[in-house]
């Protein structure tokens, strides 16, 4: 055998696979998932622990200590679960095994059986509310994800047509509103947009405090505010390239709004602009919005998917 400096612990394996029965499950189906772990490494796997993870979950449904797995050992574990109804997009049955190689190194293997489940409008649950200034808006909620389907000719100071989901009174005097913009699909229009909105009353922007921070399909960020409290967006900052997914963050300090974005999962935040919105008052509505901006793309709608929306007191 080699030494620590050699190749003793270099290996392609172990091999981990996941299959399901039925092979193509639908929402609500009872599914038996099977994980098969084969140690085809030229060394034993020490202190192995197998995690089995349901679709849409981030925590393991089962955690199974396997102890040491000698060379050539094979273990099969099954878990049964109902295909959750509130999961859509790319959903996976996942197996993840961690093990020690020796006293210095740990390693893992991961495998998933992945399905694409289409998002369907299924409404939102309390405490969320919906609102729209287009006729064709629909809404969905899947776990921590919020989904908006919307048309809308434009979404700016002149024409403000959008669909939205809000949390009433959630943006306190000092607060941070944040969301992950996951995807914007359904239209090739580069100006289609989705993001955060806040206002004293998002169903009536003319009551003041109105601002939106959006990521466009292809033309980057837009941070628009209503400087005079008439319900029309009349300041603009932004530009650059578009990234999906991206994080958007709107920090409220009284009447001062500061917009940020992050393209690295919140590791660092880039300030877009800081703007005074004098009409902001009290605990405001905060939510997510989307518009197809289809003036030049008649009839098109977008599907906007958000995740991890939060409005928290700073």
């Amino acid at each position: 055998m080699g030494t620590r400096n050699g190749t003793q612990f270099d290996a392609l394996g172990p091999t981990l696979t996941v299959t399901t029965e039925p092979a193509e499950p639908a929402g609500g189906d009872t599914v038996t998932a099977t994980a098969v772990l084969t140690n085809d490494c030229p060394f034993p796997l020490r202190n192995a622990v197998l995690h089995l993870i349901d679709p849409g979950a981030t925590t393991a449904a089962k955690t199974i200590p396997l102890g040491d797995l000698r060379r050539g050992a094979k273990t099969t574990r099954r878990w049964e679960t109902a295909m959750p109804a509130d999961v859509a997009g790319n959903v996976s049955f996942t197996a993840h095994v961690v093990f020690d190689v020796d006293g210095e190194s740990s390693d893992c293997a991961r495998s998933a059986k992945t399905f694409t489940v289409p998002y369907e409008p299924n409404g939102v649950r309390d405490p969320y509310r919906t609102f729209a200034t287009t006729d064709d808006a629909k809404f969905g909620q899947y776990g921590t994800q919020l989904v908006i389907w919307a048309g809308g000719r434009d979404f700016s100071g002149g024409t403000d047509e959008k669909g939205g989901i809000l949390l009433p009174g959630s943006a306190a005097e000092s607060s941070v509103v944040q969301v992950k913009t996951v995807s914007l699909t359904g239209s090739d229009n580069p100006t289609a947009k989705y993001g955060i909105a806040v206002a004293n009353d998002l169903t009536a922007p003319e009551k003041g405090g109105y601002a939106v921070l959006t990521m466009s399909k292809s033309f980057g960020l837009e941070f628009m505010t209503d400087s005079d409290g008439n319900g029309r967006l009349d300041t603009w900052a932004g530009g650059g390239g578009s990234t999906h997914p991206a994080w958007l963050r709107l920090v409220r300090d009284g009447t001062t709004y500061t917009a940020y974005s992050s393209v690295n999962n919140g590791l660092s935040w880039t300030e877009i602009a800081s703007v005074n919105v004098p009409s902001a008052s009290g605990a405001m509505d905060a939510g997510v919005v989307a518009s197809a901006v289809n003036l030049n793309y008649p009839g098109t709608t977008v599907q906007a998917v958000f995740d991890h929306f939060t409005a928290e007191e700073a």
């Binding site: 400096n5 190749t7 955690t63 961690v98 006293g103 190194s105 660092s268 995740d307």
Partner: protein, 482 residues
């Protein structure tokens, strides 16, 4: 008892000259079976299917942190504007009215070519031992030096061209000196970057020109060849493999193809590289990136991170400022902070990546102070918290998304590591599914003793000491007897 990671190569270094700096042909001799090879592993064949049987070496999986070094003629010019990639200067200069085209005209004059600046690349203060010591201080486990970038100027004596640092400029084998220094110290694994294509090269179908008169001009050191790939590029790859025996080969520039867009045929040197690494008395693991246009060991994420945990090993390569090569116009303020870089490292590692952080030395061989500072800051953090980084692996999930303080997870032998990006105060609460039992102890790396913790409302609540070892990132380790 764990071997000290900082001295993992001392045994190899003690083996002597063949390991320190192999004379040409040594690797071929090894590959031909002059010494015993790895039992049971057939030689790699120049096919993707055969190369795909090559494992990512353990050392690379464990290393997590490396240093990228971009150095060459472009370090003389050192950029045209604060936001320009200095190593791309020659290419940008070739287009009329670009910032580089104007800068060159205004700074050097239309008659002075890029190659005319080669004599100013002197490397007179180049101290490879000091470089390696700095890499050690950074806590880096490997490095990759540009043996030849897109401008075609090799930092080692190539036989297929005189366009190199021994014939021109520094008159030194810059690659060899650093490889030797690294192997002498035995602390940081040496790797080499190599650009397959070049901006300009008569053999590639784009001869060098004066970009103001558009007249074709000689390319310094060029030796005519018929076939850019077969007579030049592949031979250079064999040169750096056989002469320097690098632990890592990092390809780039594959998009600058010769006329006719022929395949790179990278499978040939790759099979040789893998086979000669195993066919020796003490086989070693070697690793390559994904820009050879064929098989690869790890995926490259340039200037970005992988947003999710990826079972395919990957590497984030990133600049400290904007440019890869030294850019004298970049103010210190635009450099990424140590806070960002350390948190980036934790993020990358939690998702099965390595971080290859770039530095751009000056033309004289000195490393800008701000780059040294950043590296030492990372090293100081790793000295305390490296147990959660080196040799670790991703857990079920890499992070907690959306919180005010970022949390990243790693697993190491006997430990579950909670890396908090920032300085928590009061109570740290994490989801209750982390691996912890009633008797588990939680420690904060860099401090002594165990911390109080409770399970309540489905969460684990950890009492955070008032004095934290770091403002940037703190590691809470949970004993995990699996």
């Amino acid at each position: 008892m764990a071997v000290d990671r900082r001295h993992f190569m001392t045994t190899a270094a003690a083996l002597g000259g063949a390991v320190l700096l192999a004379p040409p042909g040594t690797a071929q001799a090894l590959a031909q079976g002059a010494v015993s090879g790895t039992p049971g592993i057939p030689d790699y064949q120049p096919t993707k299917a055969s190369l795909d049987t090559h494992p990512v070496p353990r050392w690379y999986k464990d290393a997590k942190f490396g240093i990228f070094v971009h150095w060459g003629i472009y370090s003389v010019i050192a950029g045209a504007t604060p936001k320009s990639a200095s190593e791309w200067y020659l290419w940008y200069q070739s287009t009329k009215d670009t910032a580089e085209w104007k800068y060159h005209r205004d700074t050097y004059g239309e008659d002075v070519t890029y190659d005319d600046l080669i004599p100013q690349f002197k490397a007179e203060k180049y101290d490879p031992d000091a470089w390696v010591k700095l890499f050690e201080q950074a806590g880096a486990e490997y490095f990759a030096l540009t043996s030849k970038h897109h401008d075609g100027f090799a930092l080692y004596p190539s036989k297929v061209t005189d366009r190199h640092s021994v014939a021109y400029g520094p008159k030194r084998d810059l690659v060899g000196e650093l490889m030797t220094a690294a192997r002498k110290r035995g602390t940081v694994r040496p790797g080499l970057y190599y650009s397959l294509g070049e901006y300009f090269n008569p053999a590639i179908g784009r001869p060098m020109r004066n970009f103001y008169t558009d007249k074709e001009i000689p390319m310094t050191g060029y030796k005519p060849v018929e076939d850019y790939i077969g007579d030049y590029e592949l031979k250079q790859l064999y040169e750096i493999i056989d002469r320097y025996d690098p632990e890592l080969l990092w390809a780039d520039g594959q998009w600058f193809r010769p006329t006719g867009n022929p395949p790179w045929r990278s499978e040939e040197p790759m099979a040789h590289y893998y086979s000669q690494a195993k066919n020796r008395k003490n086989p070693k693991g070697v690793v390559i990136n994904d820009r050879f246009d064929t098989h690869f060991d790890f995926a490259t994420y340039e200037q970005r991170t992988n947003p999710t945990m990826d079972p395919q090993k990957w590497e984030c390569c990133m600049t400290m400022g904007y440019s890869w090569g030294y850019n004298k116009h970049e103010p210190d303020e635009v450099y990424k902070t140590s806070e960002f870089l350390i948190q980036l490292l934790a993020d990358v590692v939690s998702k099965n990546g390595n971080l290859l952080l770039n530095i751009g030395p000056r033309a004289d061989g000195t490393i800008p102070e701000i780059m040294q500072e950043r590296l030492r800051d990372i090293g100081a953090w790793l000295k305390v918290n490296g147990a959660a980084i080196y040799g670790s692996t991703p857990w079920v999930r890499a992070e907690e998304e959306g919180g005010s303080l970022g949390v990243r997870y790693t697993v190491s032998p006997g430990k579950f590591n909670i890396i908090v990006l920032g300085a928590p105060s009061g109570t740290l609460s994490v989801p209750g599914d982390i691996p912890i039992s009633a008797t588990s102890r939680i420690r904060l790396l860099g401090t002594s003793g165990s911390l109080r913790w409770t399970r309540r409302d489905g969460k684990i609540h950890i009492t955070v000491p008032s004095n934290l070892p770091s403002d940037i990132a703190n590691v809470f380790t949970v004993d995990w007897a699996r």
